[in-house]
Amino acid sequence: MEEFERVSTGIKGLDEMVEGGLPFPSVALVAGGAGTGKTTFALRFLTEGAKKGEQGLFFTTLSEPTQWMLRYTSQFDFIDKDYFGNEIKYQDIGLLVQNEGYEELLDFIDDKIAEVMPQRIVIDPITVVGSFFDENYRSFLFELTNLLKNWQAVSVLTGEVPPNEAYPEEITYAVDSVILLSMLEEEGSRRKYLEVLKMRGTDHTTGKQPISITTEDGIVVLKSRF
């Protein structure tokens, strides 16, 4: 029986929970509410690849210019700004999401991936697309995940979880892995957690694991410290 090749997430403590990393190739959803660390997760994942000489491609659906991203990332010690434009290509697809149909958007993403040939891909956040494509959203997600699975890469899609839902259900059925980030109020303070909800072909740790977000490492699964 052939073992999956796996790529390290770069998140301290997470690889140990999932037999060494995310299966290569595969598509993962990292979902959570506002401020739970989704973009930090995605950046840590890309920089981990960049350190190893792997090519990353970051699609933003938010129309944020590169310098905004750089300003945001400058707080983190693990990010080398020189990666951007080189090992990590940054691509704004916000205007396409707003102005084009989903088939045009898929074609653009496919072409960009063929041009850059990344081993790691991020789309942050994918859920923005839902508010523009409405009735075509499920078709778009289905075709997008198929497209991503065709490439020899590990893709991380980030998704905002609506306040009254546990996770964005319309995406979870199509992806290979689902990692939930959450923030719970306990004893008067907010604590952050990471939970691997699903990972195909992987004997993963279940249950919510406490995390912290540090400037040095980004997301850290706390039990890995002990």
Binding site: Y83, N86, Q119
Partner: protein, 207 residues
């Protein structure tokens, strides 16, 4: 990180890889050892160099992903595909319509890889592909993908046959791509047939 941009490193890597591969000349087999995450890219870099820089003609044997992926990559990067012919062993086990273009032959041999070289034994075929006397290389995409469907004994039989075919043609190079660290048992089997090993990771460090 070096001062070079990743685009320049990629171009240098294409050139260096192709030079190193072509150095072996015809009638020889070279293994291109590359990390699993780089296998698709290495195949593309090799084809880019062989077709575009060296102006070689050859066969690409798709063992892992349908040949359409590589064809799309080459087309997207503006590489002339007149001198490449595909042998696709993968598409028949996936869904969808199999469109047989001028330069592709679909073969149903994923599970009996030891017979794959029969495809080349005919002198050209109905799709208008050339005979092995008229091409410069056969590139096997991700050799370790064979392990999904075949025993190690079957793969060894295939390699024996591949070796015989390559050595019977004085201008023909055999190129194998795989990650030897991820598949040590396969690597041991293949080692005895190789004339040269190129380590992509090492080349990248040097660039």
């Amino acid at each position: 990180m070096s001062g070079k941009s990743s685009n320049n490193i990629n171009l240098d890597l294409v050139k260096r890889l192709t030079d190193d591969v072509c150095e072996i000349g015809g009638s020889n087999i070279v293994l291109i050892d590359t990390p699993t995450t780089m296998v698709a890219k290495t195949n593309f870099f090799l084809l880019r160099g062989l077709l575009d820089i060296k102006k070689k003609k050859g066969f690409y044997v798709a063992l892992d992903r349908p040949h359409q992926n590589m064809d799309y990559l080459l087309s997207n990067h503006g590489i002339d595909r007149d001198n490449i012919w595909y042998i696709d062993t993968v598409t028949h086990i996936s869904g969808g319509e199999k469109v047989e273009s001028r330069n592709v032959e679909f073969v149903d041999m994923s599970f009996e890889i030891e017979n794959l070289m029969e495809v080349f034994e005919e002198d050209g075929n109905s799709k208008g592909s050339p005979s092995l006397d008229d091409v410069d290389f056969i590139l096997l995409e991700n050799l370790s993908a064979m392990m999904n469907y075949n025993s190690i004994e079957s793969i060894e039989k295939f390699i024996e046959c591949f070796d015989r075919v390559i050595h019977d043609h004085e201008d023909l190079m055999g190129c194998l791509v795989m990650d030897t660290n991820a598949h040590e048992n396969l690597s041991e089997v293949v080692n005895g047939y190789l004339d040269k090993i190129i380590d992509v990771k090492k080349i990248k460090e040097e660039l």
